[in-house]
């Protein structure tokens, strides 16, 4: 089955310059290893979508891969702001960054509508909120029965969605457990989907019938990358490497230091380093 490929092949075959790309993960299961591969392959002019862009988007932005970011909360959770994002947005380094900003509710609904094949999402939102005045992709419609004014945003339909999950089985079906976020919706909303997983198991016979499973035919590539969500969490495998989240703030605080770190830890590295990073975290505990 050609579904199982290397991470290099998966990115090369599915992520192209100018694509609209969602690397999702609602604080849990963030696809860091796949994001690094996109950086190594020097993709340009990407439109990145994510509810909670964090360090991996900071890295992609700082390395010049990104033209535009669509998001609802862009920070370093528990630490502060995303310094590369702010440098790009406020000072156009390494180049100008456009943004489209929404609320979490709007983004969650937009992914849901994308998975549902609809052109737009309809929800009760943005009441009295300032974003409705500055974002032309926030509009309002009337309920045809009650006349209530409801918010609408375009559905999210990425060219490619990238996620990290716990397990695939030998057929390439993928299991996501715990805090599942918007990953299922992001995959089903996309034209193409890539999944990195911690582990490949024989079958899902012992998995709960209503667990979150993506059938293999909804995916373009499945790649085993143990530790691929480091420094974020993978429930059942490892906790968050919080020390790294804190360490990122000084690393990203100035341009040269950032570039040196990326050279050593991303450009000169490969997905195989993630397993050892996770082992390191666990050994510390």
């Amino acid at each position: 089955m050609t579904l199982f490929v290397s991470l290099k092949e998966a990115i090369a075959a599915n992520v192209f310059d100018g694509d609209v790309v969602a690397l999702e993960g609602f604080t849990h299961l963030i696809p860091y290893a796949a994001g690094h591969e996109i950086i190594r392959q020097q993709r340009k002019d990407l439109t990145l979508i994510r509810m909670t862009p964090d360090l991996i988007y900071d890295q992609l932005i700082g390395m010049g891969c990104v033209k535009k970011m669509i998001f609802s909360w862009g920070g370093n959770p528990g630490v502060g702001s995303l310094r590369r994002f702010r440098d790009a947005y406020e000072k156009s380094w390494p180049h100008k960054l456009e943004i489209e900003e929404h609320s979490h509710a709007a983004m969650a609904n937009a992914y849901e509508a994308g998975a549902a094949g609809l052109p737009c999402a309809v929800f009760r939102g943005y009441l009295g909120a300032g974003l409705a005045e500055v974002n032309p992709n926030i509009r309002f419609i009337e309920c045809p029965f009650t006349g209530e004014r409801l918010a609408s945003v375009p559905s999210i339909r990425p060219d490619v969605t990238v996620i990290h999950a716990q397990k695939a089985n030998r057929k390439g079906d993928v299991l996501i457990e715990g805090i599942v976020g918007v990953q299922k919706e992001a995959v089903l909303a996309a034209k193409r989907a890539i999944v990195t997983v911690e582990e490949i198991v024989d079958n899902f016979d012992d998995v709960h019938p209503n667990a979150c499973v993506l059938p293999n035919w909804t995916l373009k590539a499945v790649v085993q990358v143990p530790g691929g969500a480091h420094p974020s969490y993978a429930k059942g495998y490892y906790e968050r490497d919080n020390a790294f989240y804190k360490a990122w703030d000084p690393i990203a605080s100035e341009r040269e230091g950032f570039q040196a770190w990326m050279q050593e830890n991303v450009l000169n590295a490969g997905p195989e380093v993630f397993a050892s990073r996770v082992a390191f975290t666990q050994a510390q505990k």
């Binding site: 609602f26 604080t27 849990h28 509810m51 909670t52 998001f71 609802s72 909360w73 862009g74 920070g75 959770p77 528990g78 702001s81 995303l82 994002f85 702010r86 947005y89 406020e90 900003e101 609320s103 979490h104 509710a105 969650a108 609904n109 992914y111 849901e112 929800f123 009760r124 939102g125 943005y126 009441l127 009295g128 909120a129 300032g130 974003l131 500055v134 209530e148 004014r149 715990g178 805090i179 599942v180 976020g181 918007v182 299922k184 919706e185 979150c212 974020s232 969490y233 429930k235 906790e239 968050r240 490497d241 919080n242 020390a243 804190k246 510390q284 505990k285």
Partner: protein, 256 residues
């Protein structure tokens, strides 16, 4: 026992939470206050984090909304679209907690930009996240925030999430049925929303704090209720529970 201003703020915020509340909890101060309430007077309170964990009972305070323990101790964990559609928009949350970089006397909040305008800000903040819909979908909003004249301003730079609007009448004009900000707990005092004007007025002052201090740390012309009480100091049970929680948390996250 001696206690810090932060402990006073956390305890005062926790006391407002009722045993039958369903709380939409953010990381940081709200998370500490809600879990303290659960560990003291409100053992059955339902805590929901926006990552989808419903009815969670963490033993330590989470590092982020993605902590495995939030899921492990939850009644159930749902996908994020369901969280925002069925649980928040569905009107199932009685209390939402919000904080901000700036707030005004009507409880309008800004976590988007400071200085300049939206397209050319002086400082770009992380943004609203869940706040715009939390502010209008929860039964009422409790705000917990350290008081300072920099954060408590006359005019916020951006209306990230609606409190009672620029004149106190906007919620009704927009047909919003929920109460909005009803309570603001700071390290100096407790403010409650005036039923008429919808402005925050000081109703309780923490022990040892003066009206002058409060006024100096507020960017708008602060009002005091006719009857202002002194906030009861944290009692031994409250302090012991809070400190044990903080110690467990520090131990669990040591080296992180």
């Amino acid at each position: 026992m001696n206690y810090t201003a932060t402990e006073m703020m956390t305890v005062a915020a926790a006391r407002a939470i009722r045993n039958d509340d369903v709380c939409f909890v953010g990381i940081g101060m709200p998370s500490a206050a809600c879990n303290l309430a659960r560990l003291t007077h409100a053992p059955d309170v339902t805590l929901i984090y926006e990552s989808g964990t419903i009815g969670t009972k963490p033993d330590v305070l989470p590092l982020s909304i993605g902590d495995g323990e939030l899921c492990d101790t939850a009644v159930t964990t749902v996908a994020v679209p369901e969280m925002f559609r069925y649980w928040l928009q569905g009107g199932r949350i009685s209390v939402g907690f919000l904080g901000a970089a700036q707030l005004d006397k009507f409880g309008n909040l800004n976590t988007t930009v400071v200085g300049g305008d939206y397209n050319n800000p002086k400082v770009r903040l992380p943004g609203g996240g869940g706040a715009p819909e939390i502010a209008t979908s929860c039964g009422e909003i409790f705000i917990v925030m350290k008081q300072s004249s920099r954060g408590f301003v006359d005019n916020i730079d951006f209306m990230t999430s609606l409190g009672h609007g620029k004149t106190g009448t906007e919620r009704e004009a927009l047909g919003i049925k929920t109460r909005g900000p009803s309570r603001l707990t700071t390290d100096l005092c407790i403010m409650e929303t005036d039923p008429e004007s919808k402005e925050f007025i000081v109703t309780s002052i923490h022990p040892g704090v003066t009206r002058k201090q409060i006024a100096e740390n507020t960017g708008w012309a602060i009002r005091f209720a006719d009857q202002v009480v002194e906030t009861p100091a944290p009692n031994d049970t409250e302090l012991a529970a809070l400190r044990a929680l903080n110690e467990r948390t520090a131990r669990a996250h040591a080296g992180q």
